[in-house]
Subunit: 198 residues, 2 copies
Amino acid sequence: MDTRHNILTAAAVLFARNGYDKVSMRDIAGAVGIRAPALYNHFPDKEHLYLESIAHVLQGKAEALARAIAGAAPAWTRLERYVACLARIFTEDPDALRLIQREVLNGDDARLRTLTDQVFQTPFQDMLDLIQELGPGRDAHLLAISVMALVLDHIELACLRPLLPGYRPEHDDPEVLARHVCTLLRAGLVDAAPSAPR
Amino acid sequence: MDTRHNILTAAAVLFARNGYDKVSMRDIAGAVGIRAPALYNHFPDKEHLYLESIAHVLQGKAEALARAIAGAAPAWTRLERYVACLARIFTEDPDALRLIQREVLNGDDARLRTLTDQVFQTPFQDMLDLIQELGPGRDAHLLAISVMALVLDHIELACLRPLLPGYRPEHDDPEVLARHVCTLLRAGLVDAAPSAPR
DNA sequence: GTCTATAAGCGGATAGAC
DNA sequence: GTCTATCCGCTTATAGAC
């Protein structure tokens, strides 16, 4: 089969869960059923393998978000779709989110710029436009970051939340999360009824 | 002077910025002006040095939050103080936040449980109680996580935000961030006027 | 393309002098 | 308590047979 593809998917999982330094070329080779030197037939070194495995995982995620926000529906509807899509994508593939977290934490300026240009730019701009349509007087940048934070932090903290008081298993359901975020965005902390009003 | 204290503060900075594996005992020793074997007079091994440096940095942070939320003031006022305190603490000491991020990403279950019991438990419970007072019908756990996410994600993304459209330098000011978060919590994305109403 | 063998270097940690 | 010297394992990466 396609060895290169197998390497990239196996490496992405290992890097996401253990971090760059805790994953050796031997580990990656072992996960694919080959020996370490064979990896160098497909990638020039570990760094390139790592960067390509990230790109491989993030492939298509941005496009899915673009589809969710597109169309002629009312702005609130498009926001709800965007939030739901974001929650679904990264709940189903938490390794992808971990890879992004590690890059944000460790990436030098050049790598962060590349990642921004190739992945974050378009979805963020879409969200920015949408927010400007919904709340013209507000700071769209702060709000767009806030929307991302509300959705992604819940998922990032999946390991920690069960240890904190008030946790219930349904909090890990992306639909529950999306509804919660939209309710909060609509009316804030207090004013909304338990079930989101239209 | 107190060599042990110097080691812990220097190590914390290195670990926060580069991660556990990218910091060698030689690096830490060099930052303090000694040689690597001397470190073993103060700590049994690298793992213990790492864990103690985290504890050393997080010391006092939880107490500051407890003070901010305490008192007989109205619930909204205490929430505002809490949010402002959270934003100030981690804007002034971004390395502390990075250490927490790394622990959440890499920590096994046992270490996350220890960290929760010793640091997160009390501030989170305080926030939970406050939210139950403010919005009795809502899911307090989801909301408390959301408040943390809104404040901390802005600070965690300090490296990324300048690369995204709409960024302005004032977004890095903890007071601006705290006002933004409180406005959002009060009335959601749309209903609030640009300057937060009382 | 994959293998075995191996180079070259860095990592944590210890021994023992001072 | 700190030093120098050193051990030993593991890492990335290459050479060369098949």
